[in-house]
């Protein structure tokens, strides 16, 4: 889908990309990096809108230098920032954008209706976008990237500004773009945790350099941490302590440190999840102790943790 060969982009004062070589296949690929790591620069180059300083890049087998318009006809792009005029309806905007991608008028209307339904916009699609919630706007942005049935979509920070539920819905939708629609996805984020559940493959870049590129299962193996919070009960005034003891007895690795400084941090247990059975074990143990399970969730890792891991292990980049 995407191949780059020692791709570099230098601005007068900054090096945005530094000899980046990647080979991204079909599926959902996450591009992770802190702000300013070069993610957006990368997308611009891949769309053929910004020439690379050196190196080469191919998208769908086409050279970005010479085949920009052909690539953009078969690729969808969802910008990170707001890009929707408030005074038109989602339908009007997406129909217009479909025509800008080269779809004949009738096909543009038909594909718009289909695509908006697929991203979960129903009756509201006839109302002006100005009245939409952030989640609905993100769906419109996704729809305009998908309306011309591209082979690949580039999604720049699609979960930005969404609440946890909206985030999960958007991630589910992104997964669906590949599993149901068969459209490959390159999605950027600065949160590794949310990508590891959605992506088949994750590429981590920092300061324009490739830090790590591997399939998600590699990440998951090293990074799956469960956060568990329980209530206290009369029998166990310190519910957290009781659960910690019980789980330790059952052989679960419990991380000593919890995040300090966060409210309620003392009540959260972080434990290593070795597989499905850990979830069941936690559930059964909590029930056995007669405690209330407030939450059990996969910890979202910040990109910094990968850096730490890389420093320690020196994982070779592919």
């Amino acid at each position: 889908m995407i191949a780059t060969e020692s791709l570099s982009k230098r601005f007068p004062r900054v090096t945005a990309l530094d000899r980046l070589s990647l080979d991204i296949g079909p599926g959902v690929t996450g591009l992770v990096g802190a702000n300013g790591a070069g993610k957006s620069t990368m997308i611009k180059i891949l769309l053929g809108l910004s020439p690379a300083t050196e190196g080469s890049a191919q998208v769908l087998g086409l050279d970005v230098r010479t085949h920009g318009p052909e690539i953009r006809e078969r690729v969808g792009y969802m910008p990170e920032h707001d890009c929707l005029p408030p005074d038109v309806s989602a339908t009007e905007l997406v129909v217009h954008m479909a025509r800008m991608s080269g779809l004949p008028p009738a096909a543009a209307r038909e594909r718009t209706a289909d695509t908006l339904r697929h991203v979960g916009l129903y009756e509201e699609r006839y109302r002006p976008i100005g009245g939409y919630s952030t989640g609905m706007k993100q769906r419109v942005k996704l729809a305009q990237a998908l309306v011309h049935d591209p082979k690949l979509v580039l999604l720049d920070e699609p979960t930005n500004g969404l609440d946890p539920v909206g985030r999960d819905e958007m991630l589910g939708l992104i997964r669906k773009v590949w599993t149901d629609f068969g459209i490959s996805v390159l999605v950027t984020s600065h949160l590794l945790g949310e990508l590891e559940r959605t992506c088949d493959h994750v590429v981590v870049i920092d300061g324009g350099k490739l830090l790590r590129s591997s399939s998600t299962s590699d990440f998951t193996r090293t990074t799956t941490t469960l956060a568990v919070e329980v209530t206290d009960s009369d029998a166990h005034p310190d519910g957290t302590g009781a659960l910690r003891a019980a789980l330790a007895t059952a052989g679960v690795t419990i991380h000593a440190g919890v995040e300090d400084g966060l409210p309620g941090a003392g009540h959260i247990l972080l434990l290593e999840a070795s597989g499905e059975e850990t979830y069941d074990l936690v559930r059964d143990t909590v029930a056995g102790l007669g405690l209330g399970l407030v939450r059990m969730e996969q910890r979202r890792h910040h990109i910094a943790e990968v850096f730490k891991a890389t420093d320690q292990e020196e994982v070779p980049a592919r």
Binding site: M100, G120, Q144, H148, D180
Partner: protein, 320 residues
């Protein structure tokens, strides 16, 4: 290729990862009122490419200038201005036919100049809506991530605005021409003057569209754009004609023609006086000769080229 997935009518289906094979169809209760998710259909039809996208943007922008395809509210002003622009032409025709005059009492080439305020208000209201919206709401990246290039965008917007102005200024001329034939005026003479009038308003439309779009594109805030367009068109015309009046009063008649170079509308007046057989409408009936006319032409063409260049430069920075 329509496969039915089980989570058809659930609004919240987006947060699940649906799997069409997970639940067999047989386990579902048939219900006629259910909306079925017919699954994703890929598109195998034609992709008409860059030239088609440019044409689509052109027609969308041209229609948009008259509020077509936009809300009812945004149709009011352009349609009203269009009516105001055409009404005097109808009156002229009516009087000419009634009095059986042998020529129209307003010349084709003078019409747009008489109604310049209507043209200015139209441009001031529609140029910002054509380009400022895309800049202000950062919609431009959505265009440039598609097959069209910067040059296509600029040409489509420029062409659409010029065409909208041409429709506005040429329609009343057409009404007058039809009227002249109804009044059985000399056909050849009227046709020639009508043709000259069309060329004149075409030049005016392209020049004004360029200036209006540049000012709108440089001021993403819509209000400023409107004010800037009015200022440049109307105030510069007022200033130039005032200075010309002073020159005439002080017997400094040589300066009148050269002063005309400093406002868009007097440029058009000078140009049509030199080349399109139009009556001299500068103070003292000063004629723009062919020599000075070439200077007028060069400046008009130079301004149009500069507007195009500025628009291209403006959109270079926008990118994504």
């Amino acid at each position: 290729m329509s496969s039915q997935t089980p989570d058809a009518n659930q609004i919240s289906h987006a947060n699940q990862i649906p799997d069409a094979n997970q639940i067999p169809d047989a386990t579902r209760t048939p219900d006629a009122t259910r909306i079925h998710n017919i699954g994703y259909r890929s598109y195998d039809g034609p992709r008409l490419g860059r030239a088609y996208a440019r044409r689509s943007l052109f027609s969308q922008s041209l229609r948009g200038a008259y509020g077509l395809g936009r809300s009812a509210k945004s149709k009011v002003l352009p349609m009203l201005l269009f009516a105001v622009m055409c009404a005097p032409a109808l009156i002229i025709v009516a009087i000419s036919v009634y009095t059986k005059a042998d020529k129209l009492f307003v010349e084709y080439t003078q019409y747009a100049i008489l109604l310049q305020l209507v043209v200015a208000v139209f441009l001031a209201s529609q140029a910002p809506q054509s380009v400022s919206r895309d800049l202000r709401f950062r919609t431009v990246p959505l265009y440039f991530s598609r097959p069209i290039e910067r040059v296509d965008y600029v040409l489509a917007k420029f062409g659409a605005m010029a065409s909208a102005l041409f429709v506005l200024t040429a329609t009343p001329l057409f009404i007058m021409w039809i009227g002249s034939m109804l009044a059985k005026m000399d056909f050849a003479e009227q046709a020639k003057m009508f043709g000259q009038g069309l060329v004149s308003v075409a030049v005016l439309s392209v020049l004004f569209a360029g200036l209006g779009l540049v000012m709108a594109a440089l001021t993403p805030r819509r209000g400023f754009g409107v004010a800037a367009v009015i200022a440049v068109l109307v105030i510069s015309f007022g200033a130039v004609t005032t200075l010309q009046g002073i020159s005439y009063a002080t017997d400094n008649t040589g300066a009148i023609v050269w002063l005309g170079l400093f406002s868009p509308l007097t440029l058009v007046i000078g140009l049509q006086n030199a080349f399109l057989g139009a009556r001299a409408s500068f103070p003292g009936e000063m004629q723009v000769g062919a020599g000075v006319g070439v200077v007028y032409l060069a400046i008009v063409l130079g301004l149009i080229a500069a507007c195009y260049g500025i628009l291209m430069a403006r959109y270079r920075k926008v990118g994504l």
